[in-house]
C-alpha cells in the first residue's frame, strides 16, 4: 500500500548544484502537488498538476521546474540550488482536487543547501 512515494528522503546539496526530487503515486490520481515547508512555517505550494501534460505555478515557483509526462510521476527539478531552498519538500496527490477528494501527502524530502 505505497500511496505517495518521495525520493530521496535526505539530501545535502552545494550551492549551484542541481537535483531532481522524485515523486510517484500508485492511486491513479489526477492531481499532484509539490509543497515546501520552511522551519516554523506552514506549507507553501510550489507547483501543481491537474493531469498528465498539464502543470501550473503555485505560490513559490521560482528556482524550480516540474514535468508531468505520466499520471504516476511528478518530479521536481531544482536548478542552481541556493541556501534559501533549504526546506522540507512534500509531494501530494488527490483524485479530483482538494474540494472533492482527500489530498494524500508523501513523507517528505529533507533538503539542505550549503
Amino acid at each position: 500500500n505505497a500511496g505517495v512515494t518521495q525520493t530521496p528522503k535526505f539530501r545535502i546539496l552545494k550551492i549551484g548544484q542541481s537535483m531532481t526530487l522524485q515523486c510517484a503515486q500508485d492511486m491513479n490520481h489526477n492531481y499532484m502537488y509539490w509543497y515546501r515547508q520552511d522551519p516554523g512555517m506552514g506549507l507553501k505550494l510550489i507547483y501543481y498538476s491537474v493531469g498528465a501534460g498539464i502543470t501550473d505555478k503555485g505560490e513559490v515557483p521560482n528556482g524550480y521546474n516540474v514535468s508531468r509526462s505520466t499520471t504516476e510521476d511528478f518530479p521536481l527539478r531544482l536548478e542552481l540550488a541556493a541556501p534559501s531552498q533549504t526546506s522540507v519538500y512534500f509531494c501530494a496527490s488527490s483524485l479530483g482536487g482538494h474540494r472533492r477528494s482527500t489530498i494524500y501527502f508523501g513523507e517528505g524530502s529533507w533538503l539542505t543547501v550549503v
Binding site: Y33, G42, L43, L45, G58, G97, H98, R99
Partner: protein, 114 residues
C-alpha cells in the same frame, strides 16, 4: 503577509478534556477550509474540512466551527487522546481560474498530557 494565522504555537491539554485549536484568516475570498494533522517525519494527513456555506462540520471526535463574520475557525477535539499529540495545520483556499492550491497556517503543536 500571512493570510492564515494560527497564533498559538503550542497547546497543552489533559487527556480526556476538550482541545480547541484556533485559526484566523484575512482573505475574505477564502471559501473552503481544512485541518491537517502532522506527526514528526511524516506528511500531513487530512482531518476535516468545511465549506463557507456551513458554520459547523462534525466527524467523530472532531468538529470544525466557522465564523465568517469574524474570519475565524476552530477545531474541537473531544475527548482528547494521547494519539492526538501532533502539529495541526489550518488551511484555506479560494477557487480562482481553476487553481487548486491551499494556503497553510504555521501550525499549532498540540500536546496531550496523561
Amino acid at each position: 503577509d500571512q493570510q492564515v494565522k494560527q497564533n498559538s504555537p503550542s497547546l497543552s491539554v489533559q487527556e480526556g478534556r476538550i482541545s480547541i485549536l484556533n485559526c484566523d484568516y484575512t482573505n475574505s475570498m477564502f471559501d473552503y477550509f481544512l485541518w491537517y494533522k502532522k506527526y514528526p517525519a511524516e506528511g500531513p494527513t487530512f482531518l476535516i474540512s468545511i465549506s463557507s456555506i456551513k458554520d459547523k462540520n462534525e466527524d467523530g471526535r472532531f468538529t470544525v466551527f466557522l465564523n465568517k463574520s469574524a474570519k475565524h475557525l476552530s477545531l474541537h477535539i473531544v475527548p482528547s487522546q494521547p494519539g492526538d499529540s501532533a502539529v495541526y495545520f489550518c488551511a484555506a483556499s479560494v477557487l480562482i481560474g481553476g487553481a487548486d492550491g491551499l494556503t497553510f497556517g504555521k501550525g499549532t503543536h498540540l500536546i496531550i498530557q496523561p
